[in-house]
């Protein structure tokens, strides 16, 4: 029987340690992992807790991230509660197996400390890896700080293991900015956390010898489409499950989460939509602009990236005039993901606010409060003019000549 830890009411944890503590409290059966900066301390933390007798589990050291996720798929198909962590290139190497995990409906939890993808090689935080996973069929949750990393991990097991969902879940946090920044975290007690997550309920597990089962069967044109449709339906239908898990989590923690987190949006004329720790910076900038310049600024941060909260994003944004969609990933010859998806959501509204795209923070480039205020002011100019006054896509915080693409057409 695993030993318990008496946690303080307030602990000082960075995002990685908060994730490791959540994995300990969830009593993960198997972690198959390969280290990569900046996510390494998550699985290192799990291994330490296990070695010290705080977890009844198995740590499987593997030769690559592809093998790490493959080990997780095998252990999950066998019938265990399984988790791991990765970043950047490691995430990229896992991608093939991410699709296997979701297609096989295995509720694995993957912590991603987001980091830029090479080349050029870079260990700092941006959202390239997060974006790389967005069609993989996983639930993707985004934590803006260490407390939320802890909370989202506990919720991730509940959501992924729910009988109506049975899908793997990623918990994203910003590499270094969140993963290595020690902050105050209010954890649940071990007993309360485990009670919230619950005992793992295996489904179609391979270790049930009375009912031998094949996982990972091949399907060609006669079956594949139906299986993918069913999988997509389960992911789309995870939305109410996520809301009910958040509601239950509020009862045990007092902390309220939503699929889309809105800050000062009720009367906002201009809104920034962002992910990760940028949401917190933007909230500060919005508050200062309201106090100092009277600009009605608001912030929207998708807590859940997949299933994309098309409905909740639309509700949060439909009454504003101008939106800045902030993408911390080089879009590779397109407009950014948030721009495209936010635009699609608000296109289905009566007022159709103006949407522009800001590419920022690549490879860990800092985005200051001053930068964010300048973006809000541009959005305000768009709102006042009733049209987009800048290029539709702009790079911000970049040295050299201004880089941007596409002008709006006159007459709206």
């Amino acid at each position: 029987m695993a030993e318990k830890i008496d946690l303080q009411e307030i602990e000082v944890w960075d995002g990685n340690y908060a994730a490791a503590q959540a994995l300990r409290q969830a009593q993960i059966d198997v972690v198959a992992a390969y280290p990569i900066t900046p996510s390494t301390p998550i699985v290192e933390g799990y291994a330490s807790f296990m070695a010290d007798g705080y977890i009844d589990g198995e740590f499987v050291m593997v030769e690559s991230e592809h093998a790490a996720m493959s080990g997780c798929v095998g252990a999950a198909a066998a019938g265990g509660r399984v988790a791991t962590a990765t970043s950047s290139q490691g995430f990229a190497l896992m991608v093939e197996v991410l699709y296997q995990a979701s297609g096989m409906r295995l509720p694995i939890v993957l912590n991603v400390a987001n980091r830029a993808l090479a080349a050029p090689l870079n260990v700092r935080g941006d959202h390239s890896d997060m974006y790389l996973g967005r069609d993989s069929g996983w639930v993707q949750m985004d934590a803006f700080n260490a407390q939320e990393v802890y909370d989202m991990n506990l919720c991730a097991f509940r959501i992924g293991e729910h009988p109506d969902v049975r899908l793997p879940v990623m918990v994203h946090q910003d590499g270094f900015l969140t993963s290595h920044t020690a902050q105050n975290v209010r954890p649940l007690s071990d007993d309360d956390a485990y009670k919230f997550i619950g005992v793992f309920q295996p489904v179609e597990e391979m270790l049930d010898f009375s009912r031998p089962v094949t996982h990972g069967a091949q399907t060609e044109e006669d079956w594949h489409f139906e299986h993918k449709a069913r999988q997509h339906k389960a992911l789309m239908d995870a939305r109410p499950v996520i809301e009910s898990v958040f509601a239950e989590f509020e009862k045990v923690s007092g902390r309220k989460y939503k699929r889309v987190e809105s800050y000062m949006t009720e009367d906002a004329e201009v809104i920034i939509v962002a992910l990760g720790s940028t949401v917190e910076s933007a909230r500060l900038a919005a508050q200062q602009l309201r106090d100092e310049e009277g600009i009605k600024a608001g912030v929207v941060g998708p807590r859940v990236i997949r299933p994309f909260p098309f409905d909740a994003i639309r509700d949060a944004l439909e009454n504003c005039k101008a939106i800045g969609a902030m993408d911390r990933s080089c879009p590779g010859g397109a407009l950014g993901m948030l721009f495209n998806e936010v635009s699609a959501a608000v296109y289905a509204t009566a007022k159709r606010p103006l949407v522009t795209n800001y590419i920022y923070g690549l490879g860990g480039r800092d985005l200051s409060i001053v930068d964010i205020k300048a973006i809000f002011r541009e959005l305000k100019a768009n709102a006042d003019a009733g049209k987009i006054t800048t290029q539709i896509q702009q790079f911000v915080g970049l040295r050299g000549p201004k880089l941007g693409f596409f002008e709006t057409r006159e007459g709206k």
Binding site: R105, V203, S210, R211, H215, A217, D222, W223, R230, K233
Partner: protein, 148 residues
């Protein structure tokens, strides 16, 4: 013994002839069960006594693309079980250490059984798909003399 070779469950359908259902009825995660009932003691039951499910290949013909086939000659075989051990598709049928024949619903014609057969002449030889077993046995080679 003959019911083992002509077992009604084996190879009863072409692969892909399963009942097609809509997206809302397909199994969760493409999970397929091998047996219809509790399989705890399945290792103690002979294949023909197991309740294989529709999605187990035992009930399907999965050998339509074979172009050459092994033919078995009972008169020469010494029942050493080498072919039974080596066959990658469990297509050599053996009961009580006696070879009974070949499961042509699952044999892919790889020829491993012929390769590992130790008798002289061999008790298994490859023939074209169109040649009947009787014709094949009529053409069977004679024992090769040892060279001195």
């Amino acid at each position: 013994m003959s019911n083992v070779l002509s077992n009604e469950k084996r190879g009863m359908r072409e692969l892909g002839a399963e009942k097609k259902v809509g997206w809302d009825e397909v199994t969760h995660g493409v999970v397929l069960h091998s047996f219809e009932d509790d399989a705890t003691d399945v290792a103690m039951r002979k294949a023909e006594d197991r309740n294989y499910s529709e999605f187990n290949s035992y009930t399907a013909t999965v050998a339509s693309w074979r172009v050459v086939k092994p033919v078995y000659n009972r008169d020469i075989c010494i029942d050493c079980q080498n072919c039974w051990v080596w066959c990658p598709d469990s297509s050599i049928i053996s009961r009580d250490k006696q070879i009974l024949g070949i499961d042509y619903d699952h044999c892919k014609g790889c020829g491993v059984c012929v390769e590992v057969c130790p008798t002289n002449p061999k008790s298994l030889l490859m023939f074209g798909e169109a040649i009947s077993s009787d014709d094949a046995i009529a053409q069977w080679p004679v024992k090769e003399k040892k060279e001195k």
